[in-house]
Symmetry: C2
Subunit: 80 residues, 2 copies
Amino acid sequence: MKRYEIFVTGKEGIFDPAGEQSKRALANLGYQGIDELTIGKLIRLDVEDDVTEETVREMCRKLLANPVIEDFSITLLEEA
Amino acid sequence: MKRYEIFVTGKEGIFDPAGEQSKRALANLGYQGIDELTIGKLIRLDVEDDVTEETVREMCRKLLANPVIEDFSITLLEEA
């Protein structure tokens, strides 16, 4: 069994309403010094050993990320 | 300026419908060997140098995470 961690983040220049709103809400709570806040997805995927990173990349392109507006990166965490 | 990365993930045993649905969708696409798929949040927070990790922890408890059903971890990425 191994675990991949996939980070899905909005592409540069794509509006991130959830991030923008959280940033404003923090300011309203009195927090200062916040320059930028973006919210992406962290996907943890536990798979059998024979599932390769190339296959995971394909899963991201087909389903887990939206390649038009999102970037993704894949990290292999552990192998047991 | 420094950047914190915050990972917000569902607590053990809390139902994760988005993860469950993605797992099923991948199976329907023909992918095999998927044991577990969970979806959390990756928050990137760029702040002024005087914003401490303790302050970020407070932001998480108050707004960015829901401590009842979510865990969060904070990493300081860079300092410039």
